[in-house]
Amino acid sequence: MAINTNIILATSGFSGFGNYKSVSFNVGIPSQGLGVNSYIGPYTASAALNNNNAVTEVQLQYTGLDSFWREVPGYISIIVPNAGAATYEVQSFTYFKNGSVYVDTYISNQSGSTVTIPAITVNCRAFLFIAPF
């Protein structure tokens, strides 16, 4: 029996997301003191990655704070305990604009006293996935 390949339409019936493009990038944040009610930033990490029709995933790692990688579904915020009650908040925003991917990071003092921020490197990975339709 011969098969006409013009009418072979599907092999699975369903499909997922195809790996398409990825990029790694980072930005450094120097160690510094942060006064009461103060914030620093934006520290911007960016790389060329044009998202003209793809599903995305962005992950980041705050070296200097811990070794985890975290998903960034648009926005992430972590509260970092420090000496005593002196805590600070690290916030990162991710978005695609003008052919690039951006991760903007801010750090704000969440305590009633000056806090010392360690040197942090924000390592980022961004992925684009082709969707089938």
């Binding site: 029996m1 369903f14 499909s15 790996n19 995933e57 975290r70 052919g99 969707a131 089938p132």
Partner: protein, 241 residues
């Protein structure tokens, strides 16, 4: 061209793929918010007909398709006196009947302005780890459902874990060990048992993921005045191939 079927070989994959079972798209006007109103919300409810909820991934554009962003992403508005981050937020949930898309457009307090947008979204529904069978995908005009030129994401591990964190505390889920030796891509969705055991929510700010080369864990910060959570999280860990 004729092909001898005796010479067709199909290499069956060891790992499964995600199964996209429907796509919805729409273009909506998001009216400019005012200072007094602060936010305008446009809801788009679309019946999916599965009789069960589904995972989903959503993307949206405000510039006619030049640039797309994932649901939950908010592009800052820069300029003196400072950036505004709470701008235009597109999010969704999927319940047993509908896809519920919400477009929230916030007033720009820093610059004293509200902006109107034209928002086009696409939302891809994905079969869950456990979903009533058979699943009849929503028909599309696309004829080729599986294009072999793409390297489809392959699911290395999948499962469910609970994340229960009391008000005023922080907590983690059970540690999931994958031992891949590299930091994998993942997707995760949760059910908020306080509101619905079937409605699928996508991760936005909370809860958070903690991924290493050997493990995956979910974390939530409910310290301060936060109310506490009772979540079930479905996760998928993908193979890098």
């Amino acid at each position: 061209m004729a092909v001898d079927p005796n010479k067709i070989y199909l290499d069956l994959p060891k790992y499964g793929n995600d199964q996209i079972i429907g796509v919805f798209t729409n273009t909506l006007s998001s009216p400019a918010p005012t200072l007094s109103g602060f936010v305008t919300t446009v809801n788009d409810v679309r019946a999916h007909g599965f009789g069960d909820s589904a995972y989903f991934e959503g993307i949206f554009t405000t510039d006619g398709g030049t640039t797309w962003n994932t649901f939950g992403s908010q592009t800052p508005i820069f300029g003196a006196p400072g950036p505004t981050f709470q701008t235009l937020n597109v999010s969704a949930t999927v319940d047993t009947s509908n896809v519920n898309v919400a477009i929230d457009n916030y007033y720009d307090l820093a610059h004293g302005a509200g902006y109107a947008y034209t928002v086009t979204y696409k939302i891809y529904l994905i079969a869950k780890n456990t979903m009533a069978k058979p699943i009849t995908p929503i028909k599309t005009s696309n004829k080729l459902l599986y294009a072999s030129e793409y390297n489809y994401q392959k699911i290395f591990m999948k499962g469910s874990v609970a994340l229960i964190v009391s008000a005023g505390t922080t907590g983690t889920s059970t540690l999931i060990t994958h031992n891949l030796g590299y930091v994998p891509k993942i997707r995760a969705y949760y059910y908020d048992l306080a509101t619905s055991s079937t409605t699928v929510n996508r991760f936005y700010q909370e809860p958070q993921t903690q991924i290493t080369a050997t493990t995956l864990q979910f974390y939530s910060d409910q310290s301060g005045l936060r109310p506490g959570i009772t979540y079930v999280i479905d996760y998928r860990i993908y193979l890098d191939t």
